[in-house]
Amino acid sequence: MGSLELAGWITVGVVLCALAIPWFLWGNSTVVAGLPVWLWWHVGWMGLASVVFWYFARHAWGLGIGIDPGPNSSPGPDPEPKPEQKSKPKPADAELESERRGEPP
């Protein structure tokens, strides 16, 4: 996945933000089924945003984050241990556990 994909998703994000408010209906007062038509647009747009976010989470999650999350973002050897850091065991197992519980394979 390259910078092209990242640029594409950034564009998608900007469009999602740009049209959440239907600027092209400015001043419009048409009422459909008891609600202003601009409110229906917004409701539909938020539904669309949810689907787009779901698709992104499924297929492009991690894009542009800039760090390698690792197989389960288990901490691995810490090259620069913080001096004040307590040597508490990392919650990698807990994460694995809840991934297992949370999502069927």
Binding site: G34, V43, S98
Partner: protein, 494 residues
């Protein structure tokens, strides 16, 4: 409906929240990570609802419907854009990266994460201090809301101070006992309750007045401009300013930001991310439409009164109005309890502990745990006492806090994604934008709007510009550890 029955509903609700907190208490172990972050184990439903309930506050139930009543329902669009889309994107851009870093290096607060990257205890303290500065009035806002709600509901039989005091006492009790896990569980109850209560309230109102078509027709007769999109009040600049400032501000609010560290797994973050816009629509449409419709239904609202309780009292039975007020208090409590906890963690971890270590005093786990709990009590009590003498309007206070936090967002994003950010750069960005926004808010020297755009947005741009400019002309300090935030493969030269 008698006063005692109304009180019974409200108190019953508070007791239920307390019981849930207590059952969470049995699961806690006595460490800071557990008290603050429930040991980073929150699942999808709990994380989603706890963040959602935390975001929503007195504003959703009172100030928001009030605006919709006076100016029209366009607020729904602003809220949808800010919370449903802008915040969701930040949930990924800031939240997911923070979560990864938190997993890797055990961070509990934003200040800790940035202080580590830039090798600066001062930066860590600065972020905590700025956050506490804005958090305090916002906690106060919630208490003002709770006190006022109870006073309205009981026609003054419970004075403001007693109502706010009651809520504060309950919150202190379960936050001190149960920490993040207790809060997350009660939030889940409160969030679900708010959703259901708002929908029932809207449907009830619509049944009484003959459906949405006649309610909107009545509004059109009374104030046709409210049905049309946009007005002198709702200008594009104003709407975008609000959405940007609040959307970015939310991500920097300590209690929301800290939840980025608390997710149990990546799957939890992904699911919450996708559900976000839908949840916003589900809550904001009914709650703000009730306010908007009230304008056409001849509900008279005094200048400083709240629409929602008045509409409910007029169109629904007393017990139901009491239930929704309990829901509104749920919203306030679920915001405040998290703020108390986060405020206390910023104070103990980023201000107290570094100072104690500096003066070479040893801070044991047990002692930090104790101080965190004492911090909660002090913070809540102080906010309550101040709220007694300074009941400024909800909106002004809340808006100031959101804009104040929004000033932090862009320097933090730069630090997370732009390799060349230096300690001096992020420091300059934070200090300049805070100074600018504070002066615009509290002095007349700096104007509050710029061609319709709010000082909050202008301050954000200034903060970003300062971060970039100063980073470009300075070199990283020796103690900075840029590699923490970026893939080592890509930064092989470092």
């Amino acid at each position: 409906m008698t006063l005692s029955a109304q009180l019974g509903i409200v108190v019953g609700y508070l007791v239920l929240a307390l019981l849930i907190g207590l059952s969470a208490y049995r699961l806690t172990d006595r460490t800071a990570a557990d008290f603050y972050l429930a040991s980073r184990t929150l699942g999808t439903v709990v994380l989603l609802f706890t963040t959602f309930a935390t975001l929503l506050s007195a504003f959703t139930f009172f100030a928001g419907p009030n605006i919709a009543y006076h100016e029209g329902p366009e607020w729904i669009l602003v809220m949808g854009l800010m919370d449903g889309i802008i915040f969701a994107i930040l949930w990924y851009a800031i939240g997911y990266k923070q979560w990864l870093l938190g997993q890797q290096y055990d961070y509990v607060t934003l200040g800790e994460m940035l202080g580590d990257r830039f090798g600066s205890g001062l930066l860590r303290g600065l972020i905590a201090a700025v956050s506490l500065l804005w958090l305090f009035p916002y906690v106060m806002l919630q208490q003002v809301g709770a006190g006022t709600a109870l006073e309205t509901l009981t026609d003054g039989a419970i004075p403001y101070w007693a109502g706010a005091g009651l809520i504060t006492a309950f919150m202190i009790l379960y936050v001190v006992l149960a920490g993040m896990r207790g809060i997350a569980w009660t939030d889940t109850l409160q969030g679900a309750f708010m959703l259901v209560a708002t929908w029932v309230a809207m449907l009830w109102l619509l049944t009484v007045v003959g459906g949405p078509t006649s309610a909107t027709a009545a509004l059109e007769t009374e104030a046709a401009a409210h049905v049309a999109l946009g007005s002198d009040h709702y200008t594009p600049q104003w709407m975008l300013s609000r959405a940007l400032v609040i959307g970015f501000g939310v991500a920097m609010f300590p209690q929301v930001n800290q939840r980025f560290f608390a997710a149990g797994s990546r799957t939890v973050l992904k699911r919450s991310f996708a559900l976000w816009p839908i949840l916003c629509v589900l809550l904001f449409v009914p709650s703000f439409m009730i306010g908007a419709w009230a304008h056409g239904l001849d509900v008279t609202v005094p200048a400083d009164g709240n629409v929602l309780p008045l509409v409910l009292t007029e169109f629904t039975p007393g017990w139901f109005a009491a239930l929704v007020i309990a829901g509104a208090m749920a919203a306030m409590m679920s915001s405040s309890d998290s703020m108390l906890l986060s405020g206390s963690s910023y104070f103990t971890r980023d201000l107290y502990r570094p100072l104690a270590e500096f003066s070479e005093r040893d801070v044991s786990e047990r002692r930090e745990d104790l101080i965190a709990r004492v911090g909660v009590v002090v913070f809540a009590t102080a906010a309550f006492l101040v709220s007694l003498v300074n009941p400024a309007t909800l909106f002004e206070l809340g808006d100031a806090a959101f804009s104040g936090f929004a000033q932090l967002a862009l320097p933090v994003l730069a630090a997370l994604y732009w390799r060349r950010t230096t300690r001096a750069g992020i420091g300059a960005g934070i200090l300049l934008s805070q100074a600018f926004y504070l002066s615009s808010h509290f002095t007349t020297v700096v104007p509050g709007t710029y061609a319709g755009w709010s000082a909050g947005v202008v301050g954000m741009a200034l903060g970003l510009a300062a971060t970039v400019a100063v980073s470009l002309v300075t070199t990283p300090a020796a103690a900075e550890r840029r590699a923490l935030y970026f893939d080592r493969n890509e930064t092989g030269a470092e």
